[in-house]
Amino acid sequence: MMAPDVPVVRVFNVGVEEFCRGPESVGAEVHQIDWRPPVDGDPETSEVCSHLLADPRVDEANREATSRFLAVDPVAIDVQKAAQAIAGLGTGRPTLLHAGPPIVWESMCGPMRGALIGAVLFEGWASSVDSAVELLGNGGVVLEPCHHHGAVGPMSGVISPSMPVWVIEDPASGRRSFSNLNEGLGKVLRFGAFEPAVLERLRWMGSELASVLSAAIRSLGGIALRPVMAQALHMGDEVHNRNSAATGQFLKRLAAPIAQTDFPGEAIARVLQFIGGNDHFFLNLSMAVCKLQLDAASGVAHSTIVTAMARNGVNFGIRVSGTGDTWFEAPASMINGLYFAGFGPDDANPDLGDSAITETAGLGGFAMAAAPAIVGFVGGTAADALAYTVRMREICVAENPVFTIPSLGFRNTGLGIDVRLVIDTAILPVINTGIAHREAGIGQIGAGITTAPFACFAGAAKALARVSQPAPVT
């Protein structure tokens, strides 16, 4: 005799599969969980993760962090000299910023060393390669992560005082972020090249390019960047490894203002040609947008949202909202991908650059479905690109209604990578990225896909558990 409202029992079976048979026999809804130990096999990792999942303060903190993220309106307001825009570069001491978590000169990878040498020469702090190396080796230059100064840079990510940087601002809060300008492909500083042509280009970028862009942007009163990215996601970009649509859309907004500046026609032509010829010109803006939004989400007590993922070519570091500026590091991975002719895995540098800030914000590899061709680098199909995107959604706590993906029915992109979910699901954040040659100055040798190391998330969870006192018993 069953009451009319028969309660429904749902069984979630974690472990021995045989235990599904009993509930199945009476027609109960049964879900078998394909359980396995955490990636590092450490019971403490599971334990701290379970405490964080059971702590109601964490979910509330994550909601706060994601709402702060969404409240940011990133507007490109100017191009300025780094020394003017970034406080840390305006001091007397020679200072250079680099990608990834902190690292000393002696430990750096080839491309980053090459980029720093180039920057030292560019600034005139040394007049030869040898003396530049000596200066860097004896502590004559302060070396700090871009991230510590509100900035991000792709690949070696080196920013020096005389270089031009994008200035991105959120009008409501006055909060700012910065990135350098993209040099293009081939022999460029960010891959460690420092020959005269590289420095010459940097000089042009810091003078003519910067002046023209600054005038054009200021004449517009700034350019709101989220609409550009939202459009680009509908046009085949994921705004990390695919930026050509975003670059085109950005150029569309700037072309007339550039033409209307007082600069000579030849200068304007050089500027337009430079931007038009660089499919990745928008990347640095995309990165600065993500940096601004994630910085706003940082520092929320108890929040387990990842606010940065960055690599210095040796180590991969993450930051988490609830632990503020602390870096949780592990060795950087090698990238799985395709190589340009003449190059192979033995030539590759480990994962490098601040550009993983795009994945951290739910774009790039997390929006791979918007740019399916990328998955071809690892022998996958367009369906795999969709699958990756859907899978990454499982480790995000929220959605971003501003950025949608047509091939997923205009579904919102994921937002807020949750350390707890990464550990619990063993789904590692996937990153689309270029592959640098491990020797300075040779350049990009391929592209592919890699994942963030599990150890970073395990470390972060343990630290978060330590700073959280147990929730009071109600």
């Binding site: 749902r10 079976n13 472990g15 599969e17 045989e18 394909d34 990636v39 019971p43 996937v430």
Partner: protein
């Protein structure tokens, strides 16, 4: 003239051909220990195979495999194994080994890699979820805790992962608003207290640790028999004790409203009977409960008081609460209003009588059958000398009740009862209800021991238990000469609805000369009377 062709074997025959040890490692795979043991058992059936080990390649497991003669060195394996890999070791004839390795490797190939390698397919939604959270999301989520078992959607997580991870999984499930059945054992007391506090805060049940049996709203969980749904709620600190009561209720024409396992340590002073009390509160809120049976070991007086207090509202509204706790004196329960049962059968009988079920069955605790040995000879206890009664059990409560009912035998008869489901016997081995091998070995050993007069074992049927729990034992008995002196008894715990086919099991045992009983008390009383002479009055009739 015919030429006798000297037959050349395919491979050179070594006159001193002995067994070889071959191994391999399947990287990046995880399967639960029961699944791995099943694979090992299947591979061990291959002709020419002596022994097989299929285990996760943890340091401890590899060390253990090495002592058993399996090849665990990195050179043989070609790789340094990690705890995320599966080690397969075989000892036997060379070809048989190769076949066994191939068979097991293929079996493992079916499962997904434990960590998604960079660049591999993102994985489809049709694969099983890798975590409770994911499964919960996909099933439609809802963080609302439905703590009442009567309300809408009741989610239960059944957790049987290795001990080191069990508490974490349970905590996650509670955080999602699920009731938890924690089957895993060897979970620490601190974790148990922490989890039960969390569960109590949210009005959820934490059944366990070491909870083997439950039935929620008619859905069997863990080791559970197929029983009628009815009006008696059974709340037990033990598995087989609950199973016994549930099977008896069914046999008596009654049925089970809810069966809530509390785990073996719920009545510990620090845990304070948290789950039992929670279950009593749920029973109080359940208008369809007509009787409650509590099954446990005698608890600490303070805990007993707390439990009795929680039972008070039920008793006040006319729902009898019957306690079966072997060794408890009824004086301990004075003024609590609880009924005290002498045995598990007794508890079922009282509950059935007091609930409004139509009496449809019976439950005899004694039998008039004559004790016969496996050879069919009338059993006679040896006149002098030390002798013993050996009991091999799948659960603690049955063992405790058995020993209690045989507590005053003649001085020369000792009782040796072992619970093969105890932690001591289940480390690295499946539970005897899943794989009775260790239990079988003890029965055979005892049958051959001249100092043993009586051998008794239980056969527990139902979901989760082996599909043929007696085949191995019967084939070993068949090759032994039938005994003229040893009495062999068995208690088959189960109902006619259980998947193993109770009638067939009883018949096969009886045909082999085993004295078969429907209840644990019935078996113990039979043995007592066989050993002491005429039946004694006043116990459980």
């Amino acid at each position: 003239m015919t030429q006798s062709a000297a037959t050349q074997p395919d491979s050179p025959v070594d006159a001193t051909d002995g067994p070889v040890a071959r191994s391999t490692v399947v990287t990046n795979r995880y399967r639960d220990s029961v699944a791995l043991m099943r694979m090992a058992a299947a591979a061990a059936e291959i002709g020419g195979v002596q022994s097989v080990a299929v285990v996760m390649a943890t340091e401890a497991n590899l060390l253990d495999a090495a002592t058993k003669g399996f090849a665990v060195d990195s050179d043989s394996l070609g790789v340094t194994p990690t705890a995320n890999d599966v080690f397969i070791g075989v000892i036997g004839e060379d070809r048989a080994c190769a076949l066994a390795l191939a068979v097991v490797s293929e079996d493992l190939a079916g499962s997904r890699a434990s960590t998604p390698a960079a660049g591999t397919s993102g994985g489809s939604q049709t694969e099983a979820a890798a975590s409770i959270s994911s499964a919960f999301q996909r099933a439609g989520g809802s963080a609302e805790a439905h703590s009442s078992l009567d309300g809408g959607l009741v989610s239960v997580a059944v957790i049987s992962v290795p001990a080191a991870f069990a508490a974490s999984e349970a905590r996650k499930a509670l955080a999602l608003g699920m009731h938890v059945m924690l089957f895993s054992d060897n979970v620490g007391l601190d974790d148990e207290c922490d989890l039960k506090q969390l569960a109590a805060q949210r009005g959820l049940l934490l059944m366990g640790p070491d909870c083997g049996t439950a039935m929620i709203n008619g859905v069997p969980l863990g080791f559970a028999n197929v029983v009628r749904r009815g009006s008696v709620t059974v709340i037990g600190a033990s598995g087989t004790g609950m199973q016994e009561v549930m099977a008896h209720l069914h046999r008596l024409g009654s049925g089970v409203r809810q069966a809530i396992g509390c785990g073996g340590r719920d009545l510990h002073l620090r845990v304070g009977g948290s789950t039992m009390i929670q279950a009593l509160r749920l029973a109080q809120a359940d208008g369809d409960v007509e009787a409650v049976v509590l099954v446990s070991k005698p608890p600490d007086p303070a805990v007993l008081r707390a439990v009795a207090e929680a039972a008070r509202p039920l008793i006040a509204r006319g729902v009898p609460v019957i306690l079966s706790a072997t060794g408890l004196h009824s004086g301990d329960l004075a003024e609590t209003g609880l009924h005290v049962a002498d045995s598990l059968d007794d508890a079922a009988r009282i509950a059935s009588r007091l609930a409004s079920a139509a009496p449809g069955g019976s439950l005899a605790t004694t039998t008039t059958s004559v004790p016969l040995t496996t050879a069919g000879a009338p059993f006679v206890l040896p006149g002098r000398g030390e002798t013993s009664v050996v009991g091999a059990f799948s659960g603690g409560t049955l063992k405790t009740e058995f020993t209690h009912l045989l507590r005053d035998l003649p001085a020369n008869v000792s009782v040796h009862a072992v619970d093969f489901g105890d932690d001591e016997y289940t480390k690295g081995r499946p539970h005897p209800m899943i794989d009775p091998g260790v239990r079988d070995r003890e029965v055979i050993r005892a049958m051959s021991d001249p100092a043993v007069a009586v051998v008794h074992f239980d056969v527990v049927l139902g979901f989760g238990a082996a599909s043929d729990p007696i085949g191995g034992l019967l084939s070993q008995l068949a090759v032994m000469p039938a005994s003229r002196s040893t009495l062999l008894c068995a208690h088959v715990l189960g109902t006619e609805l259980d998947p193993q086919g109770r009638d067939g099991i009883v018949r096969r045992l009886t045909d082999a000369g085993v004295n078969v009983f429907d209840t644990n008390a019935q078996a113990a009383n039979f043995i007592r009377s066989a050993v002491t002479g005429p039946e004694r009055e006043g116990h459980g009739s």
